[in-house]
Assembly symmetry: C2
Homo-oligomer: 436 residues x 2
């Protein structure tokens, strides 16, 4: 029979080895933090009716995987976890106690041009608080981010913070036509890619009135010494505008709550040019960045119309997507993941077939003490067994032959240093408990 | 704008609330056990080239979701995790140290007729040991199953055990034509559904020689007092047949190793009529059943030709699929899951806005002590805040107003009993550490 060439689709990768260890570690860190803050896990399906997912992502919509299923229904693989959340909240409206706090860490699919760090199947890691307008909720999202990045060993991260109503109020005060407001956002949003001159050009190209442009540039260039002065400065620019003043008020509230929550002052930075591209944000917006690394490691904000596609009810939500994929890449590149990337803490050699029972006994004792234990299945040459443990990077190997058994001992070899020592069988569990 | 009706596709469900808590609990139990035995996590993609997945599942193949992607490639959502494993092992052949032990707990898709307990998107929970022929590996799979079901509170489960070579040898000794051998398996496999008379009829219908049928019925009806006697009895039936004797020898080895591993004797039952429908098993086969529950809760075995579709190399594997979905249903129905199904251990009321800092401080202290803590975002009426905590089934609520703060205390309410008590703020972490 002719053989099929084993291969994966471009942008769809097998995850294994070190990479998988790091991915599971990063996932566990966030999952534990989300749980500590009282977020519930939910899972929405991979496939949805096509019409549920489309009509929301604009240009990007062409990246949605869609097809006709066996019942001739148009179905699609989810593009993100936010539209399914909106569908979920509306559909289960009567079961949900608001504020509803959920997390979801799962796969999404986009038929994107595959390039480094951009996969067609990847994970999103989201939390949202649905059904409250309180700035306490926005501040909690920032607190969760701060705690997470700290635990991952990235306490130097910065959380950029801005408010859509602040920009909106400012733009209104410039008497820019309402339909051009979104163009201002889109132009500002390009700052990281095109710089200040680029934004100026973008504004022109997008038909923003010439008279307003220098003022917009001044607004997004504001860079005061600290957040307090920055807000005072921005406040002057929106004085008398209701929206703008609401933005300023909420930013002050969020900063105060973050201070109460003991987030270091230098972690949060008011950034008037932070827009977050997505059109649906309406209030606070935020983003996590790391000096020396391009792009962001988390992004989110508040959106008043979460469920507007499905319902007339106005449901407010605030949330964030942690950039799971770039974060895993950074942790891998900086070697900040778990030290032991092996599938086991200890490997037990099978010296000869009559040692099977002893090996199984010892393995089980060590497992009960919390260790991850692999045993040899075949009494092959010892060298071969060591080689295997070494290839898997298992840090310790236990050898026990009939002679050792008679003496009530075994030999523990440290695979890093090569050092071997004899240990009484009665002491072995205690010894390994120290390595856990 | 007209609204879209929020709904899910049939067979694709949102998972949330109690159900999600139970699913995560069952997943964690297995994941931890797999890790204790030294299995590595891998993840293969959801989408594969269609030709990778097809040509293996026979009739069932029509259930595969497949479509043309944006690059006009025929792609398919994976139907199980075993064919992708075979593809993975062949593709990464040179990176893998054998024996290769992997686990994967993830989604698969089948366009099946949706009915109770049968979803179009569901989880599979698999382990496999690839690249060894040792019966130590088969026995380890049984040990993992035993440990898992025990921890889940189902120590009464039974592991049925048989050997394909035993049946094969027996069938050969009956001089049944080679092409009818598979028909014998298929007929025996129907026993649970059709009973002994049904199997007899199946054998006839499938063209198995009339002379062999009574002997086959005798073989699958064997029910000796214990495994030792059963194997002795079966041994007589295959005496002199090489395959059959190999089956007997391996069954004895596996039973001996399971005894060494202290699996209770009554847990494993030699069952000559266990076939496991899938055609690819070649040696030991096994299945976990629970008295009083239809179907099986795990099934697996050894297959010599894991990678035969992709390579000429003969790669042996043994493994099991835990029935994640039926197991979750059973745990839910018997209420054997975690007691606290709430998203938090404690809820802290916001008495008034000036208490924000105190609430945030206390919440963070409790989180550091390992508790899952939700706080109120709005200083609404206390009754409303209690109602919310109650709806989420959070077991304890903490109330702290300015008066309590002055006295250095807070009030802890047990939501089950309604009992309230005053606790010194300095003692609260210690008190809650007891509830963990």
């Amino acid at each position: 029979m002719s053989k099929i060439t084993p291969r994966t689709l471009q942008g769809f990768d097998d995850r294994h080895g070190d990479e998988m260890v790091i991915r599971n570690y990063v996932k566990d860190v966030w999952e534990k933090i989300f749980q500590k803050f009282g977020y519930s896990a939910i899972e929405t399906p991979s496939l949805e009716y096509c019409e549920i997912l489309t009509g929301k992502y604009g240009e990007e919509e062409k990246l949605i995987y869609h097809f006709k299923d066996h019942g001739d229904r148009q179905v699609a693989l989810r593009y993100d976890q936010t539209v399914p959340l909106a569908r979920y909240v509306t559909q289960h409206r009567n079961l949900i106690a608001f504020p509803f706090k959920r997390y979801e860490i799962s796969r999404v699919w986009r038929a994107d041009a595959a390039r480094k760090g951009r996969r067609r199947e990847f994970y999103q890691c989201d939390i949202d608080i649905v059904g409250t307008e309180s700035t306490m909720a926005d501040a909690e999202i920032l607190q969760v981010l701060y705690e997470g990045f700290k635990i991952l060993g990235l306490p130097e991260h910065k959380i950029l913070l801005n408010h859509r109503k602040l920009i909106s109020g400012f733009v209104q005060s410039l008497k820019i036509p309402e339909n051009k407001e979104i163009e201002v956002y889109r132009a500002i949003d390009k700052f990281d890619k095109v710089g200040i001159l680029g934004v100026e050009k973008e504004l022109k190209d997008r038909g923003v009135p010439q008279s307003a442009i220098p003022k917009i540039i001044e607004f997004i260039s504001a860079s005061e010494k600290n957040n307090k002065e920055m807000i005072d400065e921005l406040e002057k620019l929106v004085k008398g505008n209701e929206l703008g003043e609401k933005g300023i008020r909420e930013l002050r509230e969020i900063l105060e709550i973050c201070e109460f929550a003991e987030i270091p002052k230098e972690t949060i930075i008011i950034s008037p040019r932070l827009v977050r591209g997505l059109d649906y944000y309406t209030d606070a917006v935020f983003e996590v960045v790391l000096e020396g690394w391009p792009g962001s490691f988390a992004g989110g904000g508040r959106y008043a119309g979460l469920c507007s596609r499905f319902s007339n009810e106005n449901i407010n939500a605030t949330g964030v997507a942690v950039g799971f994929e770039p974060l895993c890449m950074l942790i891998a590149e900086r070697k900040m993941g778990p030290e032991n990337i092996s599938p086991a803490d200890v490997f037990i050699v099978l010296f000869s077939n009559e040692m099977k029972k002893d090996v199984l006994d010892l393995a089980q004792k060590l497992r009960k003490a919390g260790l991850r234990v692999q045993i040899a299945y075949e009494a092959s040459k010892l060298g071969k067994q060591f080689q295997y443990a070494d290839k898997l990077k298992i840090p310790k190997v236990i050898i026990m032959g009939p002679d050792e058994k008679k003496e009530g001992i075994c030999v523990v070899k440290d695979m890093g240093s090569g050092e071997q020592k004899e240990v009484a069988l009665g002491e072995i569990v205690k010894l390994f408990a120290l390595y856990r």
